[in-house]
Amino acid sequence: MRSVLPVLTIVAFILGFWTLAVVPMNIHLAADQAARGDMVVEPDDARARQEVGAFALALGNPAVIPMTYTLDRPRLPGPQQVVVELWNTVFAVAPTSNRSLIYHGWVTLSATLLGFGMGTALGIALAVGIVFSRTMDLSVMPWAIASQTIPILALAPMIIVVMGALGIQGLLPKAIISAYLSFFPVVVGMVKGLRSPDAMQLDLLRTYSAGPAQGFWKLRLPASVPYLFASLKIGISASLVGAIVGELPTGARAGFGARMLVGDQYGQPLVTWAALFAAAITAAALVGLFAALERVTLKRMGMAA
């Protein structure tokens, strides 16, 4: 709870900066709209206004400034416009409507969770293999690292197209992109976690003549839990990004990615911004959920930091 004040301070700073930026970003559009109406705008000629800087235009026409916050298609929407759009598309429409961000959120979230599950399972399996097999340690790790150097934006359309050619569409291709992004932090964290018991701990098990499986279940796996949670928090947000990216290249009809694209293509920045914020809020909620799980689990395991 001590972190509330610093966080609010940063949020207030960002909101303040954003609010101020709206004026110069939208002043030309607002002036054009005002000129089409009955207002006197200086300079009067539309072509001449393009030559004037944003700040000069705002200072010359203070009456236009309030209008920069209420444009239908602003270059940069005001914070209050985004909040209203979020409210309208989350609470004011039925969750089944294709205008509802709940509906689009669930489409993206289901792919995120499926992909996160697949990625986590794959990551843990690879980590166990890497820790117990020297061959896998030498062969898998370089490939895992290389896989993350390929831009996902280049790879995502290929996965969607190839899977589409195989007749697989919808949830699974997006989940695979999510899994592709989320398995990596899990591999890295789990390898470190499974190797975290020190020499003394391993010697102790040798004095009991314990087998590798007993060492895994009784020592290595429990010891890796704090590392696993750190990885899961990175993995879940990477999964969400993966699912959104998976929605962009194929003209998906639903999902946060589809909303962002629609807003862009049809000149409705409010739609894009609302989807962007909804995705960010979803990611924060997911990470927060895992942070809470982590706190409870580590406390119960006597490993709380």
Partner: protein
């Protein structure tokens, strides 16, 4: 076998040795190959430890006392000589679970309760659930932690944690207890108390104990036999059979006998250092 002169008890003791050596080392060598060339961790170490003995290994760091204990435990393999534990090679003895080992740090699992930690070797060795419970109760009583089975390690002091790790080493049926500076990280007052408890425990359980320390009073107070070691190469400088009775109150440390033995240990340590 060296014994303090003119002591009939000591002589009688060493006569028994030949017949019932639990741990027997002859000319044990261990050389580590490092980037800076070979390091002679142990050279020509010969020693017999009889059943029921409390043997301390004392010496400066680098004298090989811990390495020798690890050799007995089968955690290191000598590069020369012969070493037998219960008539087996150390590795066979390790697989037969012939000894309990107590490390410098308690090394309790934070995610297990004290009882759960003591249960760890029993689970691994496949004892039945009922047997596990009975043994945990018994050994926790033995180390005076009867009410703490459900506590977590972080709820206990350092001394209590180390007692729990001793209980863990006693939980299964091993006749030998190997202890590597178990009280090294504890303060003097706690250490005195634990030394006294350890002697009582030894008397009750009749285990054979190998104990590494660098404290002269601790070695003299606890041991029936003190092995003084010296470094570069690690070797035995002196073996002292204690003339103290098995029953030892803490104030025995002020007796002339105790002081005489401590003096001889100190002489042995000094002799080892002379050729540095």
């Amino acid at each position: 076998m060296v014994s303090v002169d003119g002591n009939p008890q000591g002589l009688e003791h060493s006569a028994k040795t030949a017949r019932s050596a639990v741990i027997s080392a002859s000319s044990v060598d261990l050389t580590f190959q490092t980037n800076d060339g070979p390091v002679h961790a142990l050279k020509d170490v010969s020693l017999d430890i009889e059943k029921g003995d409390f043997v301390s290994f004392i010496g400066p760091s680098g004298c090989g006392k811990t390495t020798f204990l690890r050799c007995i435990a089968g955690l290191e393999t000598p590069t020369g000589g012969a070493l037998s534990v219960n008539g087996m090679t150390p590795d066979e003895a390790r697989r037969a679970r012939a000894y309990g080992y107590v490390f410098q740090a308690a090394g309790l699992y934070p995610w297990r309760t004290i009882g759960g930690n003591v249960k760890l070797p029993l689970e691994i060795m496949g004892y039945s659930k009922a047997e596990q419970e009975a043994r945990v109760r018994r050994v926790l009583e033995l180390v005076d932690l009867a009410g703490f089975a459900r506590k977590y390690p972080w709820q206990l002091s350092g001394g209590m944690q180390q007692r729990a790790s001793i209980a863990r080493a006693l939980a299964f049926d091993a006749d030998i207890l190997l202890m590597d500076e178990p009280f090294g990280a504890l303060d003097e007052i706690v250490r005195d108390h634990l030394n006294e408890q350890l002697l009582q425990l030894w008397a009750r359980t009749e285990k054979t104990i190998g104990f590494v320390t660098h404290s002269i009073p601790e070695a003299v107070y606890l041991s029936t036999k003190i092995v003084v070691m010296s470094p570069r190469p690690g070797r035995i400088a002196d073996v002292i059979e204690s003339t103290l009775p098995r029953e030892r109150p803490l104030d025995i440390r002020d007796s002339p006998e105790f002081i005489a033995i401590a003096h001889r240990v100190r002489d042995g340590l000094r002799a080892g250092h002379a050729d540095d």
